[in-house]
């Protein structure tokens, strides 16, 4: 009996042994991650939901990369830490957004981004040297502007000298590896202002600026990774509201609108359901009401004010009872005198040729974010999470419609790692994307 108990006992011990599988052994390959520096704009800084706040900054793409690099000899990575969960306070700063309830035109509550207000960090220098030189709002050539800290509060927070150019921050860091993702703002500034509030950086400026930045990063042979610029058609800020988003809910209204359009001398027939918005048409030969319907391919921006749409903007004002086109700053149009969308597409294509060239001549890993976001646009499944580039429901973009959320950053970090491993023969493990939050619902 004693013997039997002994045998049974050894079975239980045996059962305690877990089956062994070899663990991953991260290897740095031909790269050296000991001193890592990142340079770029808001995408690099970690700006999310319209603001740079603590948890979003912790999940910035370069910070996620640095954590993975630390598995293969990577060192400390210092960011200019924002302590508040609501962002940094400065004149003109925008509030963090969260998903909340907004009232739609019929008065019913629906889900939409609302300000998430709370105490914010005052604007002051952090007082230490940082590895993450991501600066929200920065364009390529801004990094070569002396005294840029006085123009950009985010740079002001970590500039080691207010008279510096940003690239002067690079040599003292003595980096062994860098990540550069810059250039989106060179065209986004124009795009998100509907083509009226900013200009597109010319190729003749962009090329030398990017070349100078890469040169100061590469120095005498530092290795690194560079990412290219996504297409605006893959960013929900530009794709959420369709050109024909003017929905007429009843035949009565359709009849009234058609009668009024005839009265205004506008040759447009409306029907039940979706109809194109009206936009301004400076080329129109009509004496008054120089408006036209939007065409397929033209884009309405996410910032178009909902309350104005409820009052008839894009159709007929319910107050003045006259045609009310969408203001130019909320649309990207294509007409004979100004083709905003082609301007943007041409610029991005040119930038990406320059970026690819810089990667090739300097032996850098290239992340083709342009293609990756196109893949996302058509749907991505990862660890049981089904995602796409749609606003809110897609799960990857944050509530500002332009920047990725934490899960999106984790996916982007994995794209960087994929390219780095391919270029330098390293085996940096991927980030577990399920550990990072997507869109949070109320």
């Amino acid at each position: 009996m004693k013997k039997l108990l002994y045998i049974l006992f050894s079975f239980v011990i045996l059962a305690g042994c877990e089956p062994k599988i070899d663990e991953l052994s991260p290897n740095k390959g031909s790269a050296d991650f000991s001193r890592f520096v990142s340079v770029g704009n808001s995408m690099v800084a970690g700006l999310t939901d319209g603001a740079l706040y603590f948890s979003a900054q912790q999940n910035s793409i370069p910070n996620l990369l640095a954590q993975q690099f630390q598995l293969a000899g990577g060192g400390a990575f210092v960011q200019p830490v924002v302590k508040s969960e609501f962002g940094v306070e400065f004149p003109g700063s925008m509030p963090r957004l969260k998903l909340g309830y907004v009232t739609d035109c019929t008065g019913a509550p629906s889900l939409g981004p609302v300000p998430d207000l709370g105490p914010r960090d005052p604007l002051q220098p952090v007082g230490y040297q940082v590895n993450n030189l991501g600066i929200p709002g920065a364009k390529s050539f801004h990094l070569l502007v002396p005294g840029y800290a006085l123009l950009n509060p985010y740079y002001f927070r970590f500039a080691t000298d207010p008279n510096n150019m940003v690239i002067q921050e690079i040599p003292p860091l003595n980096s062994t590896f860098f990540a550069l993702w810059l250039g989106s703002n060179d065209v986004l500034g124009y795009a998100i202002s509907g083509g009226v509030g900013d200009t597109i950086t010319g190729q003749a400026t962009f090329g030398p600026a990017m070349g100078g930045i890469v040169q100061s990063l590469v120095g005498t042979g530092t290795k690194g990774v560079i990412a290219n610029i996504p297409d605006i058609h893959d960013i929900p800020f530009f794709t959420t509201i369709p050109y024909n988003g003017m929905v007429l809910p009843s035949q009565d209204i359709v009849d009234q609108v058609n009668f009024a359009m005839g009265h205004f001398g506008l040759p447009y027939t409306y029907q039940l359901g979706p109809n194109p918005f009206l936009v301004a048409d400076p080329t129109s030969s009509r004496p008054v009401y120089k408006v036209r319907q939007m065409k397929p391919g033209e884009l309405v921006l996410l910032t178009v004010p909902q309350d104005s749409l409820c009052l008839g903007m894009g159709l007929i004002s319910s107050i003045t009872l006259t045609p009310w086109p969408l203001p130019d700053q909320f649309v990207l149009t294509q007409d004979e005198i100004k083709d905003e969308i082609t301007n943007i597409e041409t610029a991005i294509a040119g930038y990406n040729v320059i970026i690819t060239g810089l990667a090739q001549t300097n032996g850098l890993a290239l992340v083709d974010m342009n293609t990756k976001l196109k893949e996302l646009e058509s749907g991505l499944v990862w660890d049981g999470i089904h995602m796409n580039a749609n606003f809110v429901t897609g799960g990857v973009f944050s509530l500002d419609g332009i920047h990725l959320n934490s899960r999106g950053n984790a996916i982007a970090a994995n794209y960087f790692i994929e390219s780095i491993n391919a270029e330098y023969g390293s085996t940096i493990p991927f980030v577990d994307i399920t550990k990072y939050q997507g869109v949070l619902f109320p």
Binding site: L8, F11, V12, L14, A15, G16, C17, E18, P19, K20, I21, D22, E23, L24, P26, L71, K98, L99, Y101, L111, V381, W382, D383, G384, I385, H386, G395, P429, F430, V431, D432, T434, Q437, G438, V439, L440, F441, P442
Partner: protein
């Protein structure tokens, strides 16, 4: 009937972890477990009613009763592809049971009842693991009750058949990637039970004394659950998309075609082989059809793409004396799951099983039977491609068991 089902499931049966390919559990009699799980051509006791009703009429004794329990201890380790960290399935201690009774009203006719647990799967990956949007935990159990008869024609041929009454229940939990303001995942729980009927029929041929050849076919039983309960935990603003409701689903318990041959030398040594063909292709997808359809809930179809597999088994027993009999055996159980459909819901891999057994007869007709089965899973790397979830799985299973048999 429902009350009866609940009683059976609640009292008779503890859950079984699938350790074979897919979710088949082959722990049906200590004597057979000791011999590499062979049984189609054996005629020792009433367990034949399960292994091959055709063989039961060759059991010599007028009454035969046996019962037993296994202690199933499975450990699975998972290494996600290219992501640091490993996961272990929590140690689930399960106790599959069996009970057989056979009676011969006449010399050539035997009737009997077989109760056992040929299918099941129970695992728990925990709530926070990387694959939580595929599965957190799953408990699926099926118990079969099989009234049968067996008839012998002279001493060379017999046939038999039984009705397989199958009662099953299932419960699963998985996370939904719909997070509330605090970042907590949504969750769905699905729970249901059902029963259905299949059959088990076979023949045994004994061309010369000592040589048995058996063939047995157990039909597929489709476990259709018309009204399982689906319960959702999601943020308030998403509840309109995820109403608690009934959902229809089904899981096929695949058919088995077994061929066995064994030879007994001087009533001392017996050696046998079995070839078990499992019709796994019946499991091509797992469908959930939600009754209340919303933008988020429709008919979902998770491809399984299982493939038919042949399991070769070999075993032997040696009668040391009138008191002690010892057994040894082994088998190779190839996984029915293709590499691109390897799902953590059923982490199935090729397996090698090694078995040993012992019977002690304190007096004639009565035995205490013990068996030990060690199952070594062969490391398998795969992807569940519909959800893009990849990694390497490895399982070890230790199954000691004990039973009693009485024949007279």
């Amino acid at each position: 009937m429902r009350k009866f089902t609940a009683l059976l499931l609640g009292i008779c049966l503890a859950a079984s972890t699938a350790f074979g390919g897919g979710y088949q559990v082959s722990l049906h009699s200590m004597r057979n477990i000791g011999m590499g799980l062979i049984g189609t051509s054996l005629t020792y006791d009433a367990s034949s009613f399960f292994y091959n009703p055709g063989a039961a009429a060759f059991v010599q004794d007028r009454f035969s009763i046996s019962g037993g329990v296994s202690l199933l201890m499975a450990r699975t380790t998972f290494q996600p592809k290219d992501v640091m960290g490993q996961y272990n399935i929590e140690n689930l201690l399960n106790t599959p049971l069996y009970f057989y009774f056979g009676f011969k009203p006449f010399e050539d006719l035997s009737i009997g009842l077989a109760v056992n647990t040929p299918y099941g799967n129970k695992l728990s990956w925990g709530d926070e693991w990387q694959g939580r949007y595929l599965i957190q935990d799953l408990a699926f159990k099926a118990i079969t009750v099989q009234p049968s008869f067996s008839y012998k024609i002279k001493d060379v041929f017999s046939f038999g058949m039984g009705l397989v009454l199958t009662f099953g229940n299932v419960e699963l939990n998985k996370a939904l990637p719909i997070e509330g303001q605090s970042g907590v995942d949504g969750k769905v729980n699905i729970k249901g039970s059902t029963y259905n009927v299949g059959f088990n029929g076979g023949i045994l041929v004994r061309p010369v004394k000592g040589l048995n050849i058996g063939v047995d076919y157990r039909s597929k039983v489709n476990m259709v659950v018309d009204e399982a309960d689906a319960t959702f935990t999601v943020p308030v603003s998403m509840q309109f998309n995820f109403p608690d409701q009934k959902v229809a689903t089904s899981l096929p318990l695949p058919a088995n075609l077994d061929f066995g041959i064994s030879y007994e030398i001087k009533e001392k040594l017996l050696i046998g082989i079995n070839l078990c063909y499992v019709f796994w292709s019946a499991y091509d997808s797992l469908v959930f059809d939600f009754k209340t359809k919303t933008a988020a809930l429709d008919k979902t179809c998770a491809p399984a793409m299982y493939e038919n597999k042949l399991i070769p088994r070999i075993g032997a027993q040696y009668k040391v004396n009138d008191i002690v009999t010892v057994r040894l055996g082994g088998y190779y159980d190839p996984t029915p799951v293709p590499d691109d459909h390897l799902n953590p819901q059923t982490p199935s891999m090729n397996q090698i099983g090694l078995t040993a057994g012992l019977s002690v007869f304190p007096f004639k007709g009565f035995s205490i039977d013990a068996a030990f089965l060690y199952v070594m899973g062969l490391e398998k790397e795969g992807t569940y491609s519909p959800e893009n979830f990849s990694g390497t799985y490895k399982t070890n299973v230790y199954i000691p068991g004990i039973g009693l048999s009485y024949s007279f």
